[in-house]
C-alpha cells in the first residue's frame, strides 16, 4: 500500500508537469491561430475579419498566469474549451467522436504485436539457434527499421491499389451507417487490416527480441535445469517455468505501449485517412488550435499515466521483489 501511495504521488507530479508543459508549449509557438487561418485561406478572408474571429474564438489576452489558473481548473473539471479549427464544436466532442477509432486501431495492432511477438520470442529462445531464431529476428528488425510512412504507403500501394485486396482509406465504406451488424462489422474489420498490419510489422520485432533475450537468460537459471531433471514436459517448462518469469519486462513495456495507443497511430491515420485523433493532433498543431491540441495531449498524457499506474499495481502482484524496499 505504501508503495502504491508513493507511486501515486509520483504520478501526480508527473501529471502536473505535463499539463503545465502542455499549457506553455503551444503559447511559445510563433503566430496565432487566426493569422494562421488567414494565411491558409489566402485571398478568401478579409483582414477585417480577423479581429472578429479572435473575439469569436474567445482568444484570451489575459495575463499568462490568469490563463494558467483557469486552465488548471478546467483540466480538473474536464472542461477543455472549444476547438478553433472545428469551431464551434467543443474539444471534448471532437475528441470523443474520433477516439473510438484510434483505440480500435491501436489496441488491435498492439494486441496482435504483443501476443504474436512474445510467442515468437518464446519459441525462438527455446529453440535457440534454430531456423526461427536465426531467420526471424533479423528480418523483423529489418522491416521495423523502414521509415513507417514509407512502409505504410508501400503496403497501401501493393495490397490496396495494385492487388485491390483491401480498401484504401477510412474506417468503413462511404455510404454505410454504423450499426451492430455482421456486414458493417466485417467492413470495419477489412478496413482495419492494412493500417493494423503495418503497425504490427514495425513493432513486432521489438516485442520478439525483448522476449527472446529475457527468455534466454531465464532458461539458463538453475530451476529450469531442475525442472528438466525432474522430467517435466518441455512445453510445461517452456511456458509455465521460463516464459512466465521472462514475461515481467514485457508487462512493463505493454503498459507503456498501452498509453501510446492513443497518440501512436498518427502516421497510420494520415496515410490511411483513418478518422482518429492522431490526424486531428496534426491538424490541430498545424492550425495552432491550442484548445484541441491541449485536449488531445491531455488525453494522451492521462492515458499513459493511468496505464503505467495500473501496470505498476499489477507488477507488485506479479513480482513481490518490488515491494520489498
Amino acid at each position: 500500500m505504501r508503495f502504491i501511495l508513493r507511486n501515486l504521488g509520483f504520478y501526480l507530479i508527473a501529471f502536473w508537469t505535463s499539463i503545465t508543459l502542455n499549457f506553455l508549449l503551444p503559447r511559445f509557438m510563433p503566430g496565432d491561430p487566426v493569422s494562421r487561418m488567414f494565411s491558409q485561406a489566402q485571398d478568401q478572408m478579409r483582414p477585417e475579419q480577423m479581429d472578429e474571429l479572435r473575439r469569436l474564438f474567445g482568444l484570451d489576452d489575459r495575463p499568462l498566469w490568469e490563463q494558467y489558473l483557469s486552465y488548471v481548473g478546467n483540466v480538473f473539471t474536464g472542461e477543455m474549451g472549444t476547438s478553433i479549427s472545428r469551431f464551434p464544436t467543443p474539444v471534448s466532442e471532437v475528441i470523443g467522436s474520433q477516439i473510438g477509432w484510434t483505440l480500435l486501431l491501436g489496441a488491435t495492432a498492439l494486441l496482435i504485436a504483443v501476443v504474436v511477438g512474445n510467442l515468437l520470442g518464446v519459441l525462438a529462445a527455446w529453440r535457440r539457434g534454430g531456423p526461427l531464431d536465426s531467420a526471424l529476428p533479423p528480418l523483423l528488425v529489418f522491416v521495423g527499421s523502414f521509415p513507417y510512412f514509407w512502409l505504410a504507403m508501400g503496403a497501401l500501394y501493393l495490397f490496396g491499389v495494385t492487388l485491390g485486396w483491401f480498401p484504401l482509406r477510412h474506417a468503413f465504406d462511404v455510404g454505410l451507417t454504423p450499426e451492430f451488424s455482421w456486414p458493417f462489422l466485417s467492413n470495419v474489420a477489412s478496413h482495419l487490416v492494412l493500417p493494423a498490419l503495418t503497425i504490427v510489422l514495425v513493432t513486432i520485432g521489438g516485442w520478439m527480441l525483448g522476449m527472446r533475450n529475457t527468455m534466454i537468460a531465464t532458461v539458463a537459471e538453475d530451476y529450469i535445469t531442475m525442472a528438466e531433471a525432474k522430467g517435466l514436459r518441455p512445453g510445461r517448462i517452456m511456458f509455465r517455468y521460463a516464459a512466465r518469469n521472462a514475461l515481467l519486462p514485457s508487462v512493463t513495456n505493454f503498459g507503456m505501449a498501452l498509453g501510446f495507443v492513443v497518440g501512436g497511430a498518427l502516421l497510420t491515420e494520415v496515410v490511411f485517412a483513418y478518422p482518429g485523433v492522431g490526424y486531428q493532433l496534426l491538424d490541430a498543431v498545424q492550425g495552432l488550435d491550442y484548445p484541441l491540441m491541449q485536449g488531445i495531449f491531455l488525453t494522451i498524457t492521462a492515458a499513459v499515466l493511468v496505464a503505467n499506474f495500473v501496470v505498476d499495481i499489477i507488477y507488485v502482484r506479479l513480482d513481490p521483489r518490488v515491494r520489498a524496499r
Binding site: 485571398d43 479549427s85 472545428r86 464544436t89 494486441l111 485486396w165 483491401f166 466485417s186 494520415v270 490526424y279
Partner: protein, 556 residues
C-alpha cells in the same frame, strides 16, 4: 496471483488465430466503390483534401464550415466568374448603382423558395448583411440595408465605393425565419440547414463522408439533374490524389503533381484537367523599409534577374504562366493594358541587363564575384517561405540560384508557416513569397500592393501589404476608381494604376496562382473547360454552383 494472469494470457493467445481469421474473411468484402455506376442515381463524389474528418457544421458564418455550404446550400445574389469575366444573375435578376454612387439596388428573383417551402424575400437579404457584419466584420462602407418591397433591396453606402457591388452580390443569403430564432448565430452548428441552393438535404453524415441531397423546393428544378453530392474527407493531398487516380471521385479540385501521367494517363479518353491562372497573383515581396529594397531600381533589377519560365516549369510543374509587369493575375484579363505589357522589360529574364542595372545603381560586383552594397556590406538577404509549401520552396530556390549568377546571395529560409507569417506581419523579414488580394476588379490588388491605406509602420502588425509600400498617387487613382461605376472611366483609371505599378514595382510579380481542377466524365458530363469556361473547376469558388447545376449524369 501470477498464475491467474498467465492463464488469462493464454486465453488471449488462443484468440489470436480467431482474430486473424476474422481479418482474413474481411478481405473478401473489401471491394470499394470504383466501378462506373451509370444508373442515373450516382452521387457526384468530391474529395476534400484538407479536412481529415468532417464535423456537422453548416453555419455559413463559421470559419470551419462543412464543405459545399456556401456552394450548394446557400446562394448569392449573383455569380461572378473570373474565368471569363461574366456575371450570372442568381437570386437577384438586376442591380443598379445610383448616380452618386451612394446606393446600390438589387431586384430579387420571384418564385424562389427556401428548402423548407417558405418564400425567399427581400427581408432575408436585409437580415443577412447586418448579421454578417456583426459576426465577421467587413462591409465597413455599408451604412444600411433596407427591404423597400418584397423583391427590392437597397444598400446605402457611407461613401462612393464601386467595388462594393461585387462584394454585396457574392454574399450568400440566409433565411430570416430560421436565423432570427437562433440564440447565438456565431456558435450555432446549423445541423439541418435551410437554404435556397440546389442540394440542401444532409444525409448520412459521418466524420469521413457525408451526402447532400436535392432541395425539394429548388427554383430551377430542371437543373437539379444529379442525384446528390458526396463529400469525402482526406488528411492531405496524397490520399485525395490516390482516390482520383483510382477513379473513385468524379471531381478532383486539389493539386495533383505530374497530373498528365499520374491522373490523365490512366484513362485519357475520360479524364481531363484545367488550371486557369485566375487565382491570386503570387509575388516576391521585398521589405521596402530595408535597404536595398527601398530602391525601385534594385527591385526591378532583381526581378529581371530571375527566370520566370523556369520557375513556372520546374517550381510549379508548368501549371501556370509567368507574370508580366502589370502584376495582374489571369482573372483580370479584360483589364490588362497590352501595350504596357509590351513596353516594359523588368519582368523579362535578362541576367546581363539586371547586372548592368545593379552596377549603375551602385551595387558593384567585387573581384570574388559577389556584389556589395554602396556601404561595402555584402549584398545578401533571406527569402522566407513556409516549409510546408514545397512548390513555393522550389520557386525560392530557383530565385536564389538565378541571383547567385549576378553575384547576389539570397538564402532560402524555411521555418514553419506561423513563424514566417509572424515575420511578414511585424515587418522584420527581408523578402518572401506571398499571395496577394484577389477580387473581381483589380481594385483590391492595387490597394493592397501600393495604396497607403494598408501600410503599417514596422513593428505594428500588418495583415496586407507586408512589403510596406504605398504612394499617394495610387491612393488618388484608387479613390477615383471607387467613386465611379462607369466602366470606361474605371478602365482608364486601371490603365493608370498598371502604369504606376510598372513604374514603382512595389512587389515583384511571379505567376498567377492556378485554380486546380480535374474531372472524369465517366459518370457525369458537362464540365467547364478552357473552351467552355462557364466556371472554374474549383469546388470552393462561388462559381461552383454553376458546375453543380450544369452537370448531367451518364446513364445506361
Amino acid at each position: 496471483m501470477a498464475p491467474s494472469l498467465f492463464g488469462r494470457r493464454r486465453r488471449v493467445a488462443a484468440a489470436v488465430p480467431l482474430a486473424v481469421a476474422l481479418l482474413l474473411t474481411g478481405c473478401s468484402g473489401a471491394a470499394s466503390s470504383g466501378a462506373a455506376d451509370a444508373s442515373g442515381d450516382q452521387l457526384l463524389t468530391i474529395p476534400r483534401e484538407d479536412m481529415g474528418t468532417f464535423t456537422r457544421n453548416f453555419n455559413p458564418f463559421s470559419p470551419n464550415v462543412a464543405p459545399m455550404t456556401q456552394q450548394a446550400i446557400y446562394e448569392p445574389m449573383f455569380v461572378y466568374n473570373p474565368a471569363d469575366g461574366s456575371t450570372t444573375p442568381w437570386l437577384a435578376t438586376e442591380w443598379t448603382t445610383a448616380e452618386d454612387g451612394l446606393s446600390v439596388t438589387f431586384t430579387l428573383r420571384s418564385g424562389v423558395r427556401w428548402s423548407d417551402g417558405e418564400p425567399f424575400t427581400a427581408e432575408d437579404v436585409a437580415f443577412t448583411f447586418p448579421l454578417q457584419k456583426e459576426l465577421l466584420g467587413g462591409y465597413e462602407y455599408l451604412e444600411s440595408v433596407e427591404a423597400t418591397d418584397e423583391r427590392t433591396v437597397t444598400f446605402t453606402l457611407n461613401r462612393p465605393f464601386s467595388p462594393a457591388l461585387f462584394e454585396l452580390g457574392k454574399q450568400v443569403i440566409i433565411p430570416r425565419h430560421v436565423w432570427e430564432d437562433v440564440a447565438d448565430p456565431a456558435k450555432d452548428t446549423n445541423p439541418e440547414p435551410v437554404g435556397t441552393g440546389p442540394y440542401t438535404e444532409v444525409a448520412n453524415f459521418q466524420s469521413q463522408s457525408f451526402e447532400l441531397m436535392p432541395n425539394p423546393n429548388y427554383w430551377q428544378p430542371e437543373k437539379q439533374r444529379i442525384a446528390g453530392i458526396r463529400m469525402l474527407a482526406f488528411a492531405g493531398n496524397t490520399g485525395a490524389n490516390l482516390a482520383a487516380t483510382n477513379g473513385e471521385v468524379d471531381w478532383a479540385p486539389q493539386f495533383i503533381p505530374n497530373i498528365q501521367e499520374s491522373y490523365v494517363a490512366h484513362d485519357p479518353e475520360h479524364r481531363h484537367y484545367w488550371f486557369p491562372p485566375t487565382g491570386a497573383m503570387i509575388n516576391w515581396h521585398m521589405n521596402t523599409t530595408k535597404a536595398p529594397f527601398d530602391d525601385p531600381a534594385v527591385r526591378k533589377a532583381l526581378s529581371q534577374a530571375i527566370d520566370r519560365e523556369t520557375i513556372v516549369e520546374v517550381g510549379m510543374n508548368g501549371y501556370t504562366e509567368p507574370a508580366d509587369c502589370t502584376g495582374l493575375s489571369g482573372g483580370y484579363e479584360l483589364w490588362r493594358d497590352q501595350s504596357l505589357v509590351d513596353s516594359c522589360d523588368w519582368t523579362t529574364f535578362d541576367a546581363e541587363a539586371a547586372g548592368k542595372a545593379l552596377d549603375e545603381a551602385g551595387y558593384p560586383m567585387g573581384p570574388d564575384g559577389t556584389r556589395t552594397m554602396p556601404n561595402g556590406e555584402p549584398f545578401a538577404f533571406d527569402i522566407s517561405v513556409g516549409s510546408s509549401s514545397s512548390d513555393w520552396l522550389s520557386v525560392a530556390n530557383i530565385i536564389s540560384q538565378n541571383l547567385a549568377e549576378i553575384g547576389v546571395t539570397a538564402n532560402v529560409d524555411s521555418p514553419d508557416w506561423p513563424a514566417v507569417s509572424a515575420d511578414y506581419e511585424n515587418g522584420t523579414f527581408d523578402t518572401g513569397i506571398v499571395w496577394s488580394g484577389n477580387g473581381p476588379t483589380p481594385y483590391e490588388f492595387y490597394r493592397d500592393s501600393m495604396g497607403t491605406e494598408r501600410v503599417k509602420p514596422v513593428g505594428e502588425r500588418a495583415l496586407e501589404n507586408y512589403h510596406r509600400y504605398g504612394t499617394e498617387e495610387a491612393d488618388r487613382l484608387l479613390a477615383q476608381f471607387a467613386a465611379t461605376s462607369d466602366e470606361a472611366e474605371q478602365r482608364a483609371v486601371v490603365n493608370d494604376l498598371q502604369a504606376l505599378f510598372a513604374e514603382h514595382a512595389p512587389v515583384v510579380p511571379l505567376f498567377p496562382g492556378p485554380e486546380w481542377g480535374a474531372y472524369t466524365d465517366v459518370r457525369f458530363t458537362g464540365w467547364p473547360t478552357a473552351e467552355n469556361p462557364y466556371a472554374t473547376l474549383s469546388a470552393r469558388a462561388s462559381t461552383t454552383v454553376l458546375v453543380l447545376t450544369s452537370l448531367t449524369p451518364v446513364t445506361g
